[in-house]
């Protein structure tokens, strides 16, 4: 039987990185995710797997270290929280523009500005819609448990290398700080130099006489070349949207009311559905696991049979815009959110649900 360990979501990220053959982690301390680097430093993976762990001078520098490591075809990652991730947006744009794989973990806290160190989901727009200049997308996956943190890191690298695109694990202070049971999966060794050269022929691994030099850059001053590059990116995103949408549903079979929530909010909404079901109200939940690509079709498909849909987020209304696009007027769309580190209780959401649906 696989070993089961009680650990924080942040610790799960670190342990998963070591066990899944990650080559390098570059980070900067920020609450509520500092346990990621602390755990890595305590585990000393450079003595076992040879993984590099480095505390950078800033988030700007850590993401650019990730950019440099990714250019070598290495499995590299960083983690941070909202204000730190703001600083990483420059690097994310370069990484996307150079078509490099990497994983960034954002353990969200509240903003804007210095905000609060308490949990929040208010980086949805920053990570799903933006995170830097130019026409690009991060692939965004949203864990809801410590086990997800462990598993999504490896899945994130799989997606990152499959599409040569940055992947952001959009987590939050609850998932990062909460301890749960984590089942350790079989160990994956780090790739050898030969494997990297074979799998990443584009990487800067040192130019032998036998091939052209490899250049990692996002620069092209020729308008047509730049446009064609952007069209190529869009074709890649279309393939991602076609193939990689992932979501989970809870009690949607006969549901008349639907909740849409991701990450920690989806767990809270499971309790909401249970309470409403115990009162005879047929509620269900859809949890987007990939936020980009977003499950537009799946929500749109469910919307036709619903009396209403509510988006529940620890922000004041970000993902709800995507829910509205998905629903496209098929039924009323409501929203409830909390901010500042306040976390809604299931009972509070039930009350808001009843108010929105005139069931009081």
């Amino acid at each position: 039987m696989a070993e089961k360990i009680l650990m924080k979501g942040n610790e799960a990220i670190a342990i998963s990185a070591i066990r899944n053959g990650v080559d390098g982690y570059f980070g900067y301390p920020i609450t509520p995710q500092s346990e990621v680097m602390e755990t890595l430093m305590k585990e000393k993976p450079w003595e076992t797997t040879g993984m590099v762990v480095l505390q950078a001078e800033s988030e700007t520098s850590s993401i650019n270290m990730v950019y440099g490591g990714a250019g070598c075809g290495k499995k590299v990652m960083t983690s941070s929280s909202s204000p730190g991730v703001s600083l990483m947006c420059e690097g994310l744009s370069y990484i996307a523009g150079s078509e490099l794989p990497c994983v960034v973990v954002d353990v969200m806290r509240g903003g804007p500005g210095l905000g609060t160190i308490q949990p929040s989901q208010s980086d949805y727009n920053q990570i799903v819609k933006g995170s830097g200049h130019g026409d690009f997308h991060n692939i965004v996956i949203a864990p809801a448990s410590a086990q997800d943190m462990y598993d999504f890191l490896d899945w994130g690298f799989e997606l990152a290398f499959k599409y040569r695109n940055p992947v952001v694990i959009l987590s939050d202070g609850i998932i990062g700080q909460m301890m749960e049971k984590v089942e350790l999966r079989p160990v994956k060794p780090r790739r050898t130099r030969e494997e990297i050269i074979r799998d990443c022929p584009w990487a800067v691994t040192g130019k032998p006489a036998s091939r052209q030099r490899n250049i990692i850059t996002s620069l092209s001053l020729d308008a047509d070349v730049q446009e064609e590059f952007n069209r190529k990116l869009q074709r890649k995103y279309a393939a991602i949207e076609e193939n990689e949408v992932k979501y989970d549903v809870y009690m949607t079979g006969d549901a008349e009311y639907l909740f849409v929530a991701f990450g920690c909010s989806s767990r809270i909404c499971e309790a909401v559905v249970d309470i409403l079901r115990s009162e005879g109200i047929k509620a269900g939940l859809l949890r987007p696991i990939t936020l980009y690509p977003f499950p537009y079709k799946e929500i749109g498909g469910l919307a036709a049979g619903m009396k209403s849909i509510m988006s529940i987020e620890l922000n004041l209304g970000q993902m709800v815009d995507d829910v509205r696009l998905a629903v496209n007027g098929a039924c009323p769309v409501g929203f409830y959110g909390r901010q500042g580190g306040n976390i809604y209780t299931p009972e509070e959401i039930v009350e808001q649900f009843k108010k929105f649906n005139n069931l009081v």
């Binding site: 202070g173 609850i174 700080q177 909460m178 301890m179 749960e180 049971k181 920690c264 767990r267």
Partner: protein, 183 residues
């Protein structure tokens, strides 16, 4: 089975590690757990609390506001959480330093003088294990065998010689807990 527990007290009373040992013991019993602390500046020297949920099924919301059991180790925590205990639920408190005692009549109330337990064993650090013993006496949701395994998992190996002392504190706590109000 689902048990939602809040453990609250001063930083330094071992609130978080007690929650961790309890959670680990439950894992050893093949149950699902969540351990959700308050974190940040409020932890520095002030009050600390952790919500532990133990269940034989997958745990949905890790955030609850009503608890099956509240374990409170200072006045602030008693004031804050006495009224969060579900009717019919359980409140365990340490009477030292308490001037306003719990008053609810619709819950089971116990008290444990864990400072005495720690003093008897000559090590103030096992205070929290005395409290845990008291809890396990009234809510035997995990077997002592699994608690011992949970202890071994939670305590760094360099302190493994302290496991026996911790176990003793748990046993001592079990015999020290007193009933105050039983419904």
């Amino acid at each position: 089975m689902k048990e939602e527990i809040i453990i609250a007290g001063f930083g330094g009373q071992g609130v978080l590690s007690m929650g961790k040992i309890l959670a680990y013991s439950a894992i050893m019993q093949d149950m699902e757990v969540t351990w959700m602390p308050s974190y940040g500046p409020e932890m520095r020297g002030g009050t600390a609390n952790v919500c532990v949920i133990i269940s034989d099924r997958k745990i949905g919301s890790p955030i609850v506001t009503r608890y099956d059991t509240a374990i409170v180790l200072n006045q602030q925590s008693l004031d804050k959480f006495e009224h969060s205990v579900k009717p019919g639920g359980t409140l365990i408190y340490d009477p030292s330093g308490i001037s306003d005692h719990p008053t609810r009549k619709d819950i089971n109330i116990y008290r444990i003088n864990a400072i005495d337990v720690a003093a008897k064993l000559g090590n103030s650090k096992v205070y929290n294990m005395g409290v845990l013993g008291g809890f396990l006496k009234v809510k035997p949701i995990v077997s002592l065998e699994n608690v011992e395994k949970g202890l071994a998992k939670s305590i760094p190996s360099r302190y493994s010689d302290l496991i026996a002392l911790n176990r003793e504190a748990i046993t001592e706590g079990m015999s020290s807990i007193e009933e105050i109000n039983i419904i």
